[in-house]
């Protein structure tokens, strides 16, 4: 007989099915019952052998917020693992996620409201009841309401997402204060600003499931990423199963670089330049694809033809030859050409980048170069390419808003500091409070935000928090005594994420949204309390009406309000299953091509930009709409309907952010031009780097796989793995300074000096020093800092503390990194600091 192949296999199957209908009709099968295979979602006690209680919930160690299962035995949380039915995570969790258990039971956990009784920083505390704590807060907030100055109440948060964020905004709206500080500008703000100026949205993910080629600029994808577990496993699978190459440009041999097809060392701050030189190669060798051109604007002309656009792009990048890029970046011209060709010729390709690319001077513009490289090869929002992430769109309850709504202008940086601070300039919040010219809050409440650790020049931040004349009343919600809470007037014991309710919404790399919830695995320990419940307690005291009384109720309402989730069974379904997605949903590849009906009442075509917009929705008359045009009417962008693409109205890229733009990808940006920035992606040398002396070095920071920036030092399993951060320095750079591996060294910048240990290695380019930014904790409990916290419990509460074998806790580099912002986005320029290094 013939050998079976795919074609005759299918034939045989057709035969099998018809024979089965006849054959098994009489023949009793041997096997009965039904298959109950389940990987994950079940676990057993090693002692009693009984099944553990399994509760679906979600991780919150990092922003990825993976759906997971918690296992509980006799009321104690014993284990965390991935949720087997999550389409994002495919049942996996990283080391940080698994160590989440440590948050609940670490010995220095704050479990009661604590009132300061000594001077700020004197570490003298008195335990108070929740009633006392809330009465005290209300006594400070009520006068602000009465005086019509709600803005003098500032809420400063770090990691709030999903319902934790929406409930906070709801409360602040009900109070009337817009003085809300975030942290995105110290994280990745420039990336989003760059994308928003083009895309009308933000948050790129990559379709690794279908990609054929991956180029990575400065992203430590395999160790830490904002969508880590969902994306890194897919990239690894693409590499292992389909031999997809991964080229990583980085100053340091990160574990991602080490696992790549090739690590391409690159000089600091040169990612954008190399990307532009890749554009140069692709354009000049005619390797580009025209498909996306009609959605791109590359010159002031909205109606340029394809040929004119091609000519304009070529002209823009003409000077960025591979040879020029080689001189500046250190990457050989031939390597640039090779990777550019491979990238352009691949059927589909992903261009990834992150902090290494964007936390620089003009970092937002470097992200625009990354988008350009994706667009000219038709790898934007296409299968196998860089795609706009899709998250869950939860509906949430809304409380009545206060009549007076005001905010202090202290979250967007000093006047003139940043042109488009759409993700704030949070590193300057405390310096601006110190400065005082835009006002100061009277009540400052921070939650999950360690200002005195995470910002540049963190010693200055610490001093501001300590100064009662600058911040008269300071409340800190926390689970651990840290660099910031030590100066609070009142510490509120927060629940851990394993003890609270939330709706969650992090984007899915597959283009299909996953709705999931977080639910308490155990009762909150001690008197710890969720922020949502604290808002409710305060609202009662302040006479504010809220749409919920508990966080659980808030989440329940969200589940019952959200289409899809509601029909699946709402809150009860989500409690039982934890995750839900629409099985009929299709990935959103090519969403921009969707045809749009423009026959609606009030929809007109703006000839200049090619935008269809609804002047009625914008609240102007037709005459005014026509005379002023789409760009001339304030708020017209919110009335955007479609973009005229070669005579057809299409969805294109709607201006969904604060950027006023057409539906085209604004590679030529009037917004940028108007503020004096290059309208087309370009290479702008970093001023500090231009002035470097012979002996100066670059200082860069990085993350390790087992820690978040500031929230995991007290997790004993993680700190046992990683608790120290010697400075990486190239052997040649070290030899020039007489430094040997293990030597103590001094690293000095213009604002300070630290002493640390040298890790001499070939795994970093010469001329720089790299120090990870998790360590050197003043406080973070016994495991993070070596010091037990001055709060009840302390290290004696954990017999395991005796087994702690490490006594090194590293050094924090932020005290020598100044707060300086990307003038475009306001992002903190972590990677631009210049230092001098010498043997200590």
């Amino acid at each position: 007989m013939k050998k079976l192949n795919r074609r005759n296999f299918l034939k045989l199957a057709a035969g099998g099915s018809s024979a089965l209908a006849a054959g098994l009709g009489f023949s009793q099968g041997a096997l009965a019952g039904s298959i109950k295979l389940q990987e994950g979602g079940r676990d057993f006690s090693p002692t009693t052998k009984k099944a553990l209680q399994a509760i679906p919930t979600a991780c919150w160690q990092c922003v990825t917020r993976d759906a997971m299962m918690g296992y509980v035995e006799d009321g104690r949380l014993v284990k965390l693992e991935g949720h087997p039915d999550s389409i994002r995570t495919l049942g996996k969790l990283c080391a940080k996620g698994q160590a989440g258990v440590n948050h609940v039971y670490f010995p220095d956990r704050i479990l009661y409201p604590m009132l300061r009784v000594g001077k700020r920083g004197e570490h003298k505390w008195k335990r108070v009841s929740w009633d006392e704590a809330l009465d005290l807060m209300a006594s400070k907030l009520k006068p602000l309401l009465d005086a019509g100055t709600p803005e003098l109440f500032m809420y400063q948060y770090g990691r709030h997402k999903g319902s934790q964020s929406s409930i906070m905004h709801d409360f602040m709206d009900a109070f009337g204060s817009h003085t809300i500080g975030t942290h995105t500008s110290v994280c990745e703000g420039p990336k989003w600003v760059g994308q928003e100026s083009l895309w009308g949205g933000m948050y790129d993910n990559w379709d690794y499931d279908h990609t054929d080629f991956v180029v990575n600029f400065g992203s430590n994808q395999f160790e830490t990423h904002t969508n880590h577990i969902p994306t890194s496993q897919r990239l690894i699978r693409a590499m292992v199963d389909r031999n997809v190459p991964l080229y990583t440009f980085d100053v340091r041999l990160s574990n991602t670089a080490a696992k790549s097809t090739e690590w391409i060392p690159i000089n600091v701050g040169m990612d954008g330049l190399v990307m532009l030189s890749m554009v140069n190669v692709i354009m000049n060798e005619n390797l580009f694809r025209k498909d996306h051109l009609k959605y791109m604007r590359v010159s002031p002309d909205y109606h340029a033809s394809d040929d004119e656009k091609i000519a304009a792009i070529k002209e823009h990048v003409a000077k960025f030859t591979p040879e020029f890029a080689e001189k500046e970046s250190g990457v050989p011209a031939d390597k640039i050409k090779q990777i550019a060709r491979g990238y352009a010729k691949a059927k589909s390709a992903c261009l990834i980048g992150y902090r290494g690319t964007v936390m620089h001077y003009h970092g937002a513009d470097q992200e625009r170069a990354a988008m350009l490289l994706s667009a000219i090869t038709n790898n934007l929002d296409r299968k196998g390419g860089r795609v706009m992430g899709v998250g869950a769109g939860w509906k949430t309850p809304h409380s009545p808003k206060a009549k007076i709504q005001k905010g202090l202008d202290i979250v967007n940086g000093f006047p003139g500091e940043a042109a488009f601070p759409t993700h704030q300039v949070s590193q300057q919040n405390l310096p601006m409070i110190k400065d005082g010219q835009n006002g100061r809050p009277k009540v400052y409440w921070s939650s999950c935000n360690n200002q005195a650790f995470i910002n540049g020049n963190n010693k200055e931040a610490e001093a501001v928090l300590k100064d009662e004349s600058l911040i008269p009343f300071y409340v800190n919600s926390n689970i651990v005594y840290d660099e910031s809470s030590q100066y609070a007037d009142l510490i509120l014991p927060d629940v851990t994420y394993l003890e609270r309710w939330d709706t969650e919404d992090m984007v899915s790399p597959t283009g299909i949204a996953e709705f999931y919830i977080r639910q308490p695995l155990i009762k909150p320990l001690g008197e710890s309390r969720d922020q949502g419940e604290i808002f409710a307690g305060l609202a009662k005291r302040l006479g504010i009406e809220l749409a919920y009384t508990t966080k659980e109720e808030y989440v329940r309402q969200a589940c019952e309000m959200t289409p899809g989730v509601r029909e699946a069974g709402g809150f009860e379904y989500m409690k039982k299953h934890g995750v839900w997605h629409d099985k009929n949903a299709k990935p959103n590849f090519g969403f921009y091509e969707a045809k749009v009906d423009v026959s609606g009442d009030g929809v007109i075509l703006d000839e200049k930009t090619g935008v269809y917009w609804n002047y009625k929705k914008a609240g102007v008359s037709e005459a005014e709409a026509r005379s002023k045009g789409y760009l001339g009417v304030e708020g017209a962008k919110d009335a955007y309907v479609a973009q005229n693409i070669e005579g057809t109205p299409r969805k294109a890229y709607p201006p969904n952010t604060s950027f006023v733009k057409s539906g085209l990808l604004d590679f030529y940006s009037d917004n940028f031009a108007a503020k004096g920035f290059p309208p087309f992606p370009t290479y702008t040398p970093i001023p500090e780097h231009q002035k470097m002396g012979k002996d100066d070095l670059h200082l860069t920071t990085y993350k390790v796989a087992v820690h978040t920036h500031s929230r995991t030092a007290h997790c004993k399993w993680l700190s046992e793995i990683k608790h120290d951060n010697p400075a990486w320095i190239n052997s040649k750079t070290a030899a020039d300074r007489g430094i040997k591996d293990g030597d103590r060294i001094k690293v000095a910048s213009d604002i300070g000096e630290i002493t640390t240990t040298a890790h001499v290695t070939e795994g970093i380019i010469p001329g720089i020093i790299a120090i990870s930014h998790h360590f050197g904790r003043q406080h973070s409990g016994i495991y993070g800092s070596g010091k037990s916290s001055p709060t009840p419990g302390g290290a004696t509460a954990d017999p395991d503390a005796k087994n702690m074998w490490w006594d090194k806790h590293g050094i924090h580099p932020n005290s020598i990194i100044p707060n300086s912002s990307d003038p475009i986005s306001g992002g903190q320029r972590w990677m631009d600091t210049v230092v001098r290094v010498a043997k200590a």
């Binding site: 035969g15 009793q28 041997a30 389409i87």
Partner: protein, 217 residues
């Protein structure tokens, strides 16, 4: 999610149907229904296409005669008395002493494997747990369940099911099915079982490749 759920479900269902057919063929003497269906233009065409030669008389003799002859051949080949092929994994596995033979170590392993997936041996089933038809039926059920998981878009469960299939094939079916088929080819006196054994062997070779790819997917 970049996954063609329908295609994956259909693929698993196809495998299930083929396992089902083979399980039926080796379970017991063919029924009139099965013979009628295999002689239908639809199936005979497929077999002809694949080069599966059931013999001219399978198609031309009276159905009752074919049934009778196949019943005799089945008994002679697989039941005895006298020299026959005992269609059980433990007979084919090379183990010392009492470890092999009927109800040997392998039989217990197969039984345990099947039972840990939630399935059970039906109360009317009088055969031994590691009969070739049981192992093929087990694969039929696993692949059917896999198809259902793809259909419901449970990727993790479907992939896990593929892993379980891979394990069962590697630890059991693949270890002896070729030898078994060769023995049948060698000892068959009429073409039907020879052709079916050849087809089974071919299909297992195909599975070796495709399951290895699938489980890695």
């Amino acid at each position: 999610m970049g996954i063609n759920w329908k295609e994956l479900a259909n693929n698993a269902k196809s495998r299930s149907d083929i396992y089902g057919l083979m399980s039926t063929v080796f379970r017991e003497e063919p029924s009139g229904d099965l013979i009628r269906d295999m002689r239908s233009p639809h199936l005979s065409e497929i077999f002809a296409d694949l080069g599966v030669e059931l013999g001219e008389r399978f198609y031309t003799d009276l159905e009752s005669k074919v049934m009778e002859e196949l019943a005799i051949e089945y008994t002679r080949l697989f039941i005895g008395p006298g020299p026959h092929i005992s269609a059980h994994e433990s007979i084919f596995s090379e183990m010392d002493g009492d470890m092999s033979g009927l109800w040997g170590v392998k039989t217990v392993e197969v039984k345990k494997f099947i039972e840990t997936t939630g399935l059970d041996y039906g109360k009317d089933f009088t055969g031994l747990p590691d009969h070739i038809s049981v192992e093929l039926e087990f694969m039929q059920k696993l692949t059917e369940w896999e198809a259902d998981m793809w259909h419901q878009q449970y990727r993790k469960r479907a992939e896990y099911c593929l892993t379980v299939q891979g394990k069962f094939l590697d630890q059991h079916l693949f270890c002896w099915v070729d030898q078994f088929c060769d023995a049948v080819v060698h000892q068959a006196e009429i073409p039907f079982y020879r052709a079916m054994a050849e087809l089974t062997k071919q299909y297992m070779a195909f599975e070796r490749q495709s399951v290895a790819t699938d489980t890695a997917a």
